[in-house]
Symmetry: C2
DNA sequence: CTCGAAAGTTAGGGGTACCTAACAAATTTA
DNA sequence: TAAATTTGTTAGGTACCCCTAACTTTCGAG
């Protein structure tokens, strides 16, 4: 019913896009390694993503993001970068902490706060 | 094993402390209404909180936070206020949006980011 | 081309956190 | 104080997201 994706689903999308850009083809095992999750769990999750029309995949076949899936993945990655930049450049949070934290926050940030972060970064990043 | 509390558990603690300050006694039904959750689910959750020694409660009896429970509740409420203030005063996020958002973020913020937020507020709140 | 390793799937299971329905206890009220 | 209402509990069920074990399919080396 709700149109928003779960954190887990968003993590899968983000990982699939990242791996496809790095390696071209994306495999169940790569996703499993990346997310430190059992490959059986990945197969299960991919069934769900297919049901949501975020990927296409046939049995034993390659994993491909749909346009919808690519769009959603990009949204999440964009938020991740935004939050990370903000935490590091404005709040001076250590980069490693910021990166880990952005992986959680990226799933929860409202569009209003997202806009507010963009404005804040624009107005404050060029100061000395 | 992990010593950190789940978002759900933290929400219960926060709600119990809030209700106890507003009304004195805290009832299952009050918590259910506040969190918009079925009262059967609340009863179940309270069993868990008791197991974690965060509350004391006997069957059909009153709900009391332990010292541990009160401490954890205060930590969450503190983070909530901190995040809310930051979103509103620094980022200019509308108060209603900020309040809702803080209810999610309060469960995820790292101690480093918490400290960073405190510093930032201290250094920027007394400007014009 | 075959056979063994690697990759992927299926079946069954567990924890969390929610639900409804039915029931038990407590409180209100008539 | 007995009946009706409210409050709290129990039992059983669902969805999500992870797990292991056992299986099937695919691929690559010999």
């Amino acid at each position: 019913m709700s149109d928003s994706l779960s954190p887990a689903v968003e993590d899968y999308l983000k990982t699939i896009l990242k791996l496809s850009m790095e390696n071209g083809e994306v495999h169940v095992t790569d996703i499993a390694k990346q997310l430190k999750i059992n490959k059986a769990s990945v197969t299960q999750a991919l069934d769900k993503l297919r049901g949501l029309k975020l990927i296409t995949k046939v049995k034993y076949g390659p994993i491909k993001l749909t346009e919808k899936g690519k769009g959603e993945a990009l949204k999440v990655i964009y938020k991740h970068i935004l939050i990370c930049n903000f935490l590091v450049s404005i709040l001076n949070v250590p980069p490693d902490v910021a990166t880990k934290e952005a992986c959680f926050l990226e799933h929860l940030i409202s569009s209003q706060t997202q806009t507010a972060l963009i404005n804040f970064l624009e107005n404050n990043l060029y100061e000395i």
